[in-house]
């Protein structure tokens, strides 16, 4: 079994805000991340798949194709966007890094070939903050 990782990046605006709470409670819980007018990040995305190298190609999967799938189904939807307003798969969800990693996993799962096993979505919100999702 070999693990293969592809790195991509995107820039986006967001805010952390629970519409079920009043402004005061949102600020108490989320602090400056609840700023009404948004803030933003340079996100870095690591996608890891696993499998046995194909005997003919030596590849777990064509990494160029993996990059295309990530860009077409994830980066296109997120890059230079407002995560709260512009992204179909985050609608109605809290735009935390945790939830975004789960959302990215679900998007990729739908578009990767059935025989490709997704292993890890690792998402950096800043160089010092990241989350990992290994699937349901």
């Amino acid at each position: 079994m070999v693990y293969l990782t592809r790195l991509e990046h995107f820039n986006a605006a967001h805010k952390l805000y629970n519409p079920g709470w009043d402004r005061e409670k949102n600020e108490a819980v989320f602090g400056k991340c609840a700023n009404e007018n948004w803030h933003g990040h340079n996100y870095e995305l690591h996608v890891t798949i696993k499998g046995d190298p194909d005997p003919d190609t030596g590849f777990v999967f064509d990494v160029k194709r993996l990059g295309e799938i990530i860009r077409e189904h994830v980066i296109e939807k997120l890059d230079h966007k407002n995560l709260n307003l512009d992204v179909d798969f985050m609608r109605g969800k809290q735009c935390s890094t945790e939830n975004l990693a789960v959302g990215i996993w679900n998007e990729l799962q739908q578009h990767l070939p059935a025989d490709i096993c997704l292993h890890l979505v690792k998402l950096y919100e800043t160089p010092r903050i990241y989350v990992e999702y290994l699937g349901p």
Binding site: H9, W38, G40, H41, N42, H80, K81, T126, P127
Partner: protein, 136 residues
């Protein structure tokens, strides 16, 4: 007189959009592309402040880095961190918040607080691969 450069690195996260109010949406989209998204996008900005001078004979310091850190926090981070540069700051109401303009604004804010006998230069990273420096 042996001059030495000292550097302080800081970071802040902010949302922005590139927009020239003198142009219509079509022209803004044409010139600024996805950077002009009306719902904003965002970055992890990294700021490097460079101060050049001769070390003080008593302290051995070009400038006390704790003081430089406090000035940068007050003048820059308090204004820009977790903010929308277009909406939440006074500087970019009529000035396009490109990395170039942000660097000039930061330089002017810091210049007013740092001993005129010391040289100052700021480098601002909008992403790891896009950065600007002022004065050039």
């Amino acid at each position: 007189m042996k001059k030495v450069a000292v550097f302080r690195r800081e970071h802040f996260n902010a949302a922005h959009r590139l927009f020239n109010p003198a142009w219509d949406d079509g022209k803004n989209a044409e010139v600024f592309g996805k950077c002009s998204n009306p719902h904003y996008h965002g970055h992890n900005y990294e700021l490097v402040v460079k101060v050049v001078g001769v070390p003080d004979p008593d302290t051995g310091y070009v400038m006390d880095m704790k003081v430089l850190s406090a000035i940068t926090a007050e003048e820059v981070l308090a204004r820009f961190d977790h903010k929308n540069l277009n909406l939440d700051t006074e500087f970019f109401r009529d000035l396009n918040p490109t990395a170039e303009h942000i660097a000039i604004v930061i330089y002017d804010l810091l210049r007013a607080r740092i001993d005129q006998g010391l040289e100052l230069r700021v480098r601002l990273y909008e992403t790891e691969r896009n950065f600007v420096e002022y004065p050039a």
